[in-house]
């Protein structure tokens, strides 16, 4: 377990040093590890943009008020190569998002996991509607 942690921290370090790895910035600088959260809501919009994509999600608070959250996800480019398009995740899709809230205190978070109503994870193992799960040659 400890070794695992070292590796991950190490990867983050590498990323900072040479701009490599799978995200282009330091997550822990943007999001607060002490503020984990789970949000349930329906998709308003998926900004398929780089360097990270952003999900706009309508979240119903316990008091019935609906607030709009912005959830950071990954670069969409590889998904697009795998066949995902802007029509793949329909507006209104119900999502459960486990993640960490932004340090600046806004209604923003990183989506550690995007989970669909059937319990599968978004864009993984062909769970994404329309996703072909591999490179087109």
């Amino acid at each position: 377990m400890r070794a695992k942690l070292v590796v991950v921290v190490a990867c983050a370090g590498l990323l900072l040093m040479v701009g490599q790895a799978r995200a282009h910035h330091a997550f822990a600088a943007e999001f607060d590890v002490n503020k984990p959260l789970t949000l349930k809501g329906s998709l308003i919009k998926w900004e398929m943009v780089n360097p990270h994509s952003w999900f706009h999600v309508a979240v119903k608070e316990p008091d019935g008020k609906v607030t709009e959250w912005l959830i950071e996800g990954g670069s969409p480019n590889q998904l697009i190569r795998m066949g995902v398009t802007k029509n793949t995740v329909p507006i209104g899709t119900e999502l459960t998002i486990e993640g960490y809230r932004a340090k600046d205190g806004g209604l923003k978070a990183v989506g550690r996991n995007f989970v669909l109503p059937d319990g599968s994870r978004l864009f993984l193992g062909g769970s994404a509607p329309g996703g072909t799960g591999g490179d087109k040659k």
Binding site: A3, K4, L5, V6, V7, V8, V9, A10, C11, A12, G13, L14, L15, L16, M17, V18, G19, Q20, R22, A23, H24, H25, A26, A29, E30, F31, D32, V33, V49, N50, P51, S53, L70, E72, G73, G74, S75, P76, N77, Q78, L79, I80, R81, A102, K103, D104, G105, G106, K108, V110, R112, N113, F114, F123, L124, G133, G134, D135, K136, K137
Partner: protein
């Protein structure tokens, strides 16, 4: 986390990665790597004739990737130049497993999205496989030559300048160039594996070879007409490239770097000579030599094959929606404010 501790973390990483790759038992990667055939040193005698473009250039066109798990420098403890196919497979498996490993919830390391949910694990895309134990082939020990005194002084000066500029999140200019969407690892030259979206599109027209790097849509338009380099006053992030055909090999020389994105500590006077040779329908042999007497007392050379991959390349606009950078800076300012308020409370 300040810069110095980051650097030490970085060193730790390198060491740890090396040790781990040698010792930790591998878990199966989340999905099987879709790998192109391994680029062995082309056996002598087996002649591959690359197709030609309508104007008679050897045809390098198409979508390519240099995504690889082979490290630039040879790991400590490895003494040979090539793994056996079995060893290479094992090394890839381990690396893929490391990449796909889930982080411990509630730890700093866990604060990110699941890379595999966005296809961003290397194992989820084409890999340019190779039996090499390091990309560096010269010096023969597979390591970048030692940095000379001049290079060390420059590194120290650069570190001092960074320190003088303050903490990493004090201002946008203090943040890494990649985070700022200015340039990433893929563009080079030399073109290095960018970690994810390590893809290229090559298009040729009479007199030109164009290489589009997916990350931040960086384009190299390489003229083949033997024109001279521009005056020294013209300095660019990606330098200025001039190409020519030597038989079936595209040779590209690049100088006129601006020195703001030092490749492995190089100076702005670095000269990079790249060689592209199509050795199979789905493989380009990519070799580069780095020459910078201001940093290394000898040149060094690496081989990093490009494997054919699927298109298309979708627009990687980066700066335009780089919300993260504002979030990070705003987060840092919020933390400072909080701390200042707590300090005030404490002193009351």
């Amino acid at each position: 986390m300040n810069r110095r501790s980051l650097v030490s973390v970085g060193i730790l990483v390198l060491v740890a990665a090396v040790v781990l790759s040698a010792t930790i038992a591998a878990q199966a990667p989340a999905s099987a790597a879709k790998a192109a055939p391994a680029a062995k040193a082309a056996p002598a005698g087996k002649a591959y004739t690359p197709p030609k473009t309508p104007d008679g250039q050897p045809d390098l066109q198409g979508f390519w990737t240099n995504s690889t798990y082979v490290p630039l420098e040879r790991p400590q403890g490895v003494t040979k130049e090539f793994y056996t196919p079995d060893e290479a497979e094992e090394a890839i498996k381990k690396a893929a497993a490391r990449e796909a490993e889930q982080t411990e919830p509630g730890t700093t390391a866990d604060v990110h999205y699941d890379f595999s949910q966005f296809g961003l694990d290397r194992s989820q895309s084409t890999i340019a496989k190779s039996l090499r134990t390091s990309l560096v082939v010269d010096p023969p020990d597979g390591k970048i030559p030692p940095v000379n005194a001049q290079g060390q002084k420059r590194a120290a000066d650069r570190a001092a300048a960074r320190k003088a500029a303050g903490g990493q999140y004090d201002s946008v200019q203090n943040m890494p160039i990649g985070s700022r969407c200015i340039i990433m690892g893929g563009a080079g030259p030399p073109m290095m594996n960018a970690g994810y979206n390590a893809n290229y599109q090559i298009v040729q027209s009479p007199g030109y070879v164009m290489i589009l790097t997916e990350m931040i849509h960086d384009v190299r338009v390489i003229p083949l007409d033997n024109r001279t380099q521009p005056p020294q006053g013209v300095r660019q992030w990606t330098g200025v490239s001039r190409g020519r055909w030597e038989g079936n090999t595209l040779v590209v020389e690049t100088t006129n770097f601006n020195g703001k994105n030092a490749f492995r500590g190089a100076s702005e006077n670095m000269k990079v000579t790249e060689r592209f040779t199509r050795v199979a329908d789905d493989m380009i042999d990519y070799k580069f030599t780095v020459e910078d007497p201001a940093t290394w007392d000898r040149t060094w050379t690496a081989e990093a094959p490009l494997a054919k991959t699927g298109g298309p390349i979708f627009e990687f606009a980066c700066h335009e929606t780089n919300y993260g950078i504002a979030n990070i800076l705003a987060g840092a300012r919020a933390e400072e404010k909080q701390k200042a308020e707590q300090a005030k409370k404490g002193s009351n």
